[in-house]
Symmetry: D2
Subunit: 318 residues, 4 copies
């Protein structure tokens, strides 16, 4: 089956999903799209997307993708009253691919239920945010039954052109995504430590981070966090409580599997300090809704520093 | 003065220096080269390099570069019995640029002595190793008197095309290089933690690291360390004791400047555990001469794991 | 009601329970005793204890004490087929006091079920082991409904003469016991760090620990662990896995209540390293059945040291 | 020589020295006393103390004790213009005992200089503060040449009746004192962590600490710090900067001797956070002059808590 013959279904066109579908459409894929708020999907029609009204209308596609917020949302669109499985009438796509970041337990449960319906469940969480997709730099990690995973991977590569890695059976890709987010926490915290140190000693943050980003330690992540650390712009990409949750998931796996993670553990406590500090302030809700990189301000206060924006037009590297 | 008119002197053509000079020569720069072991410099003649016998022969150049192992080596080539300053006879380059990674204290002392001779001292440590230079991906961080730094930067960019960042007066570039190496320690240790976790749960290391390298957390560093973590090849690029030294330098600066560095501190203790474990073994010298990434084996033992090479032909990303 | 008029029931005469009952009997209390293995209770008859065959026989006492291993054991003796509540026939002691170390969740559930039967549930976990009781140095922490707690405290004081502290309603005493065990983990780990350091520098461990025990940092705990650290006697009082469990309970409470615990977190990872190291050895089960203080050997190996017994006849301080 | 025949010299009657001398005098020792501010020594005359005007007047005693603030003070009273060695005129006590807490380096240098004069130098730092001495609970740790140490120990026991431990040659007692103070930092920090946790969950601090102090983890230190943690009385016994210094000394020894100290390292960073937080406040000097236990307030803020005094008349346990 050539790629333009395969019928693709897509559930969820939020900030990330929208752009992923757009990439599929621009590559001439046949995509039928359902979104809870249909209006958000409609602009995709101009690229050839078929916007549907009900999940049941997706039951005839060959491969069904989803990207939603949480495990319970995925269960709802699969098995809820209006869910695709509930309303399938004997016809279902053979392969469901999920690009959401849901828990291992939710993923296991969903896999088991889908298996009862003869559906192969492929986990395909991604590394990156909306800006990363737009820049064509998304990547993904895939697990599940190998044959179906290998079928799905060329499609996934369309929106994750930076690389798609198959890591094994079952929920292993979920583990990899948790591990990935653990590192995200560790790197931002250490980057803050050394940026504050260099800054306090006299190096402008933008100059220090330019060096780091150019160098061997530079990553997409350090680059796109640079404007935040330079100009103190804390518009949220990910909140401190979500980051703490991912580190806790990592630490729980470490505990369960007897793998010591001292650096992860130290990082977690700093995130906790940032959250606790927020809770000590009158506008705690507001602070906790801001980006996790705002930890820099908590750490600065604990370093005897008061940060001010450097008002530099630094790029995101994307 | 156009670049091809400027006369450049170069001291030190070890693994890194050689390639840096080669890049200058290929860009048609006029470079006179001195090396302790002259034979190592000779192949550069075929690219137009002028190999000299004595440091004194470099006293007529416009800008003098050096890259040596330690502060005392730099003092030797500048101020030793056969050193360039000692034998200058009233004529010296106006700008000395040092690309070595030496301590802040050594750098300060050298700067002061050079100043007495009317020479501007520019610190220009780099991010990367020999492979990185070969791949054209070296970057540098620069500090010292601004006017002379700005003169030197276009030349530095020839061998550090990924980016050259000016961070301020004096020894600030040394600080940035220490901070850079602190992050190197933190990232390798955390990468080991999560790689072991994913590996113990069933993900092949090469598959996990492929995902990480493709993703937003991937850096040149994570990529070029991947073959080591996958195939347990511990040929040294940097020893655990040198890494510990750099973390200690960072922690000392943190102490002196009252900047807490909890994640750095936790990392340092793990490196120390690796060193201590090595000292408990009969072949400790051999182990300590291997790459710091061998910490993965110590951490694996503390995770109830025994690593074996995956024998995968993974690239360095360079 | 004078103390000798009050009828006390007691469930569980293991290593600790036996001695607690003995103290009550020696203080002329009227105690009826049930134990799963009746034979273990029988020697208490010579001190005036009334050994009963069934839990139902305890339904006529005024206050019912228990000390068992786990929450499920407590549920069994209270609500199991042969449990006292199940077989009460309308008559039950008004106050149940539990001296076990069970989880907050188990304790809450048991409290709710007892309340349905009009029984007040008092938590009274203790600080100390069998040797501590024998030395008359046990203490306890109490929570639950205040009136009944105040009734129970004079009885608890008989076997916990070092002090009985009322800390509030509900399960708060359970929290205090978890916090207590967190500190136990931190103190042993730090004591090991500094003992190894002093030892490596030339101070015999027995001499160093004598100083520490005499000094302001000395506690019953540091004293009774001294023979283990001096003579490497790892007969278990508490296993590393149980200690890890208690630190994890503490860290989970910290997470739930947003209290950072960086030193606890660092300690937990060292315990994990000890467990992981054990798992790397052929006799891992044996090692993990030994006392948590054996962490000293893991830490020693990570310090380039090989410990040997000092064969010193040091006391436990009890 | 019976104890009342031995002539003792004493330098330094600050808060601690005064009480140490008083104990010697009450035990009928013959003590000649010099203090920089003579008036402070004079009340000791009523107990039989001989107050002298110059250090030279002490040159005829059998054993010379000192307790001063810093290494340079000790060098001053020994080797300064008016120092005892400088003005000895061929006659010097054979044994100098120093109870100060000075650095290993200072101690080594002083030992070497005294040796040139045929004087044996005994290190005898103590565990405790003024209140501890008053309560008769001081202890000491001793190092230096064994014969002279053994002569001095019965005298030291008079003011350190809780126990005097000989740990070996040279400066080893200094090491033990540093290790002791490392544990002091770790214990206060962990005690704060668990006290805040229990407190936030509903346990009054005084009730929690009563339990801890009664229990196996209780020490003189936890007891005499209890009033501070309950009533937020931060009158300084030891400042956070001095505590940080001692942890840094411990960590430096760990580094030098290759002993990992992860829990010490984590503690150090929390102390640093407290200092950094103080530096962020307008009254930083005042805060830094208060007791290190005030870290509890910094930690509370990072836990979303605001502490208030419990106004409880809790004792110090002394």
């Amino acid at each position: 089956m050539s790629k333009t013959e395969m019928k693709i279904g897509w559930i969820g066109v939020g900030r990330m999903g929208y752009q992923m579908v757009e990439r599929l459409l621009k590559a001439n894929h046949d995509v039928s799209i359902w979104n809870r708020t249909k209006a958000k999907a409609e602009p995709l029609a101009q690229h050839g997307g078929k916007i549907v009204d009900t999940l049941a209308e997706l039951s005839g596609v060959d491969m069904l993708f989803a990207i939603v917020s949480e495990g319970k949302d995925l269960e709802e669109v699969y098995f809820g009253k209006n869910g695709i499985v509930t309303n399938a009438k004997g016809k279902l796509p053979k392969v469901f691919v999920d690009c959401s970041s849901i828990s291992v337990e939710d993923s296991e449960r969903i896999r088991a239920r889908l298996k009862d319906h003869g559906v192969a469940f492929i986990c395909a969480p991604v590394s990156g945010n909306g800006l990363v997709i737009k820049a064509g730099k998304l990547s993904a990690v895939v697990s599940g039954p190998e044959a179906e995973a290998k079928e799905a991977m060329p499609v996934i590569e369309v929106f994750a052109p930076r690389g798609v890695s198959y890591v094994g059976e079952g929920e292993l890709a979920r583990i990899c995504k948790i591990a990935h987010n653990v590192m995200l926490g560790v790197v931002i915290e250490n980057l803050i430590e050394i940026t504050l140190l260099a800054n306090k000693m006299g190096v402008p943050r933008h100059a220090f981070l330019a060096f780091m980003n150019n160098g061997v330690m530079g990553s997409m992540f350090t680059a796109y966090k640079t404007p935040a650390l330079v100009n103190l712009d804390w518009a949220a990409t990910f909140t401190p409580e979500l980051l703490r949750k991912d580190l806790d998931l990592g630490l729980e796996l470490g505990r369960e599997w007897d793998v010591p993670m001292p650096v992860t553990a130290a990082t977690r406590e700093v995130i906790q300090q940032h959250i606790g500090k927020a809770l000590s302030q009158p506008n705690s809700k507001e602070i906790l809704a801001q980006d996790f990189a705002k930890m820099a301000e908590t750490m600065a206060e604990l370093s005897g520093m008061k940060l001010a924006s450097e008002n530099k037009n630094v790029g995101t590297g994307l």
